[in-house]
């Protein structure tokens, strides 16, 4: 049963965007919470965070996430150019009379600070985003929000995970709502999870991106299960793929306009009617058996 070992972490991912990750993650969190167990939900889709829209919570805290940004002291700089030569991100450029900094390019590796032969670089800071935290009895939502124009998505996700890890042992279950795609943001979000739920849809788009997601997470060697959303009865296109990869399909949620309407009103799937509450109860029971 979920909660028999504290700190279990399940990541909800998909590859393709808009397949229903957030709705599934929130619904599952609510389904487990209904049984009296405590849940931590991490919204790791930091470029487009949305889990809070589907929960009725009061915000408690907002924490700034910063990375080091070099500040060059012109009185100490001897214009040797070592920093600009070292920087892998082209964030520093050597001009004839000074070093120019492009803050948007900086990844905060602090290498320039380490290597500068005349200690002309000081540690400044730039905010890349914020972490918002909502807490109620037995429930916590931690959400990363990347500042608009910033690109250090994986860094913010890693900080979000470190922060969540501090309180993770207080909860029976941690659910991670991952960003779409199969690139570094998704990898950073899945990292550290004990298991993976992949939400897909029975279209060529869904299959194509699910296949990429499976290839991306293969190296984590995680147990993975698939949920087909917007099933139209014939999900052959996904069935084939999952059969060939020996990945179980644990749920087929039917295509239902009611869900789309409920979602537009800020309700996750589980709140779309008694039939949907029933589906989530059965999904929760399955996970209780599978994750004991």
């Amino acid at each position: 049963m979920i909660g028999s070992k504290r700190g279990l972490k399940i990541a909800v991912a998909s590859g393709k965007g808009g397949t229903g990750k957030t709705s599934v993650a929130v619904s599952l969190a609510l389904a487990v919470r209904k049984t009296g167990r405590s849940v931590q939900l991490i919204d790791a889709d930091v470029e487009c965070p949305n889990a809070h829209h589907f929960l009725n919570l009061d915000r408690r805290e907002s924490i700034s996430v910063e990375v080091m940004l070099p500040r060059i002291d012109p009185s100490r700089c001897n214009l040797c150019g070592e920093c600009a030569k070292f920087c892998s991100y082209q964030a520093l450029a050597m001009l004839s009379d000074r070093v120019m900094l492009f803050p948007d390019m900086c990844h905060g590796c602090e290498g320039c600070w380490v290597i500068c032969p005349c200690s002309a670089i000081e540690k400044g800071a730039q905010e890349i985003g914020r972490i918002l935290c909502w807490t109620t009895d037995g429930f916590e939502l931690l959400q990363g929000r990347l500042n608009v124009g910033q690109v250090l998505t994986p860094t913010l996700i890693r900080r979000l995970h470190s922060m969540a890890d501090e309180t993770r042992n207080r909860f029976d279950l941690t659910i991670v709502d991952c960003p779409p795609g199969t690139a570094c943001p998704m990898m950073a979000a899945v990292r550290g999870a004990d298991g993976l739920l992949l939400v897909t849809e029975p279209t060529t788009f869904g299959r194509h991106d699910l296949e990429l997601a499976l290839a991306a997470v293969r190296r984590f060697k995680l147990p993975a299960e698939v949920i087909i959303n917007r099933s139209i009865g014939d999900d052959g296109i996904i069935d084939d793929l999952c059969r060939s990869r020996a990945i179980p399909i644990i749920e087929r949620f039917p295509e239902d306009r009611k869900i789309a309407v409920a979602y537009s009103e800020g309700h996750p799937m589980i709140e779309a009617g008694s039939d949907w509450a029933e589906r989530y109860s059965s999904l929760r029971k399955h996970l209780d058996r599978a994750w004991s």
Binding site: G15, K16, G17, G18, T19, T22, E47, C48, N50, H53, F54, V67, F86, S88, Y89, H107, G108, C109, E110, G111, V114, I115, L146, V148, G149, Q150, V151, T153, P154, T155, R158, P179, P180, G181, T182, A183, C184, P185, M186, M187, A188, R191, T203, T204, F205, H208, D209, L212, A215, A216, V217, R219, R230, R257, A260, V261, Y263, S264, E265, G266
Partner: protein, 302 residues
């Protein structure tokens, strides 16, 4: 020749970017397409794309430790800001084994630079491939980022540059780019230097807040934005609110498209909607497309 590039983005995934891009392409007479959703490229799947060229893309450099030189002093692990190097094991014969987590490594090269034993090198990785394909509606430049890979922004810039070069050579004045979801690195690389942005959203709390974020990003890069609300009839009131918000911040509202099963049917069949019999979505799309400022020679005469 003046080249116009329209990019289609949304913030939230699954709002219909690719279906809309494909449908616009099918209505046009002459254009070059780019799919910059490099870690989930789907446009090829509805355009019967036939690949004519493919080449590798170089990924980010990653730290590699030579275990026979490593003294396990731990300096690299201490200095790595990405927590990408850690002591992985202790072996009786060799002592502590340091390991690089390649997913976490951002390729800054600091470890290689400071290692006293010179045991670390930065090695190029496979970043994926990019392709040039033919479709019945025009040429397509697309890519496949190595699953789990990085540097998607660089790959996006490369694709757009290749598409632009091809369009210039062929004298085709319109580029249409199907963008990635989100608001980060690949989206910024998609926006940079584009002429016009078509922002696709849907009347849901997520669609709305993501559209607001992406609109802010476009403002940051000073790109003109046009808005289309897809699936508008799911929530008429919110659709109207989104349109009112858009007008209040100088975004041109170019249309609204209904929730119509024809869209998923077209995806299932692997074709753009305009190639199917007339549908409410198809008609609304045509009307919307006619409001986009396309170069005259790109518009098919009907």
């Amino acid at each position: 020749m003046e080249l116009t590039e329209w990019v289609v983005i949304s913030g939230k995934g699954g709002t219909g970017k690719t279906s809309i891009t494909a449908a616009i392409a099918a209505r046009c007479g002459s254009l070059v397409m780019t799919d910059t959703d490099v870690d989930g490229a789907n446009l090829e799947l509805v355009l019967s794309a036939r690949q004519i060229f493919e080449t590798r893309f170089e990924g980010r450099r990653k730290a590699v430790i030579n275990p026979s030189l490593c003294q396990a002093c731990g300096k690299c692990a201490d200095e790595c800001r990405f927590e990408a190097i850690f002591p992985a094991a202790v072996r009786a014969d060799r002592g502590v084994i340091m390991r690089v987590d390649t997913d976490a490594c951002e390729g800054c090269g600091l470890c290689a630079r400071i290692c006293p034993a010179e045991a670390i090198i930065m090695k190029k990785t496979n970043g994926g491939t990019w392709r040039h394909s033919e479709t019945p509606f025009g040429h397509l430049f697309h890519a496949r980022l190595e699953p789990g890979g990085e540097n998607s922004g660089k790959l996006v810039s490369l694709l757009r540059q290749e598409a632009r070069k091809f369009a210039e050579e062929q004298g085709i004045p319109l580029l249409l780019t199907d963008g990635p979801p989100g608001s980060g690195c690949p989206v910024i690389a998609t926006l940079t230097g584009a002429s016009q942005v078509l922002l696709v959203t849907e009347p849901t709390p997520s669609g709305r807040s993501d559209a607001e974020r992406v609109a802010e990003l476009c403002r940051h890069f000073r790109r003109p934005v046009s808005l289309v609300v897809n699936k508008f009839d799911l929530h008429l009131k919110m659709a109207a609110e989104i349109e009112a918000w858009a007008r209040s911040c100088d975004i041109t509202v170019v249309g609204r498209l209904p929730y119509d099963p024809v869209v998923s049917a077209a995806v299932r069949l692997g074709v753009p909607v305009p190639t199917l019999p007339p549908s409410p979505w198809g008609e609304a799309l045509s009307e919307m497309a006619s409001r986009l400022a396309f170069p005259r020679s790109s518009i098919r005469k009907t």
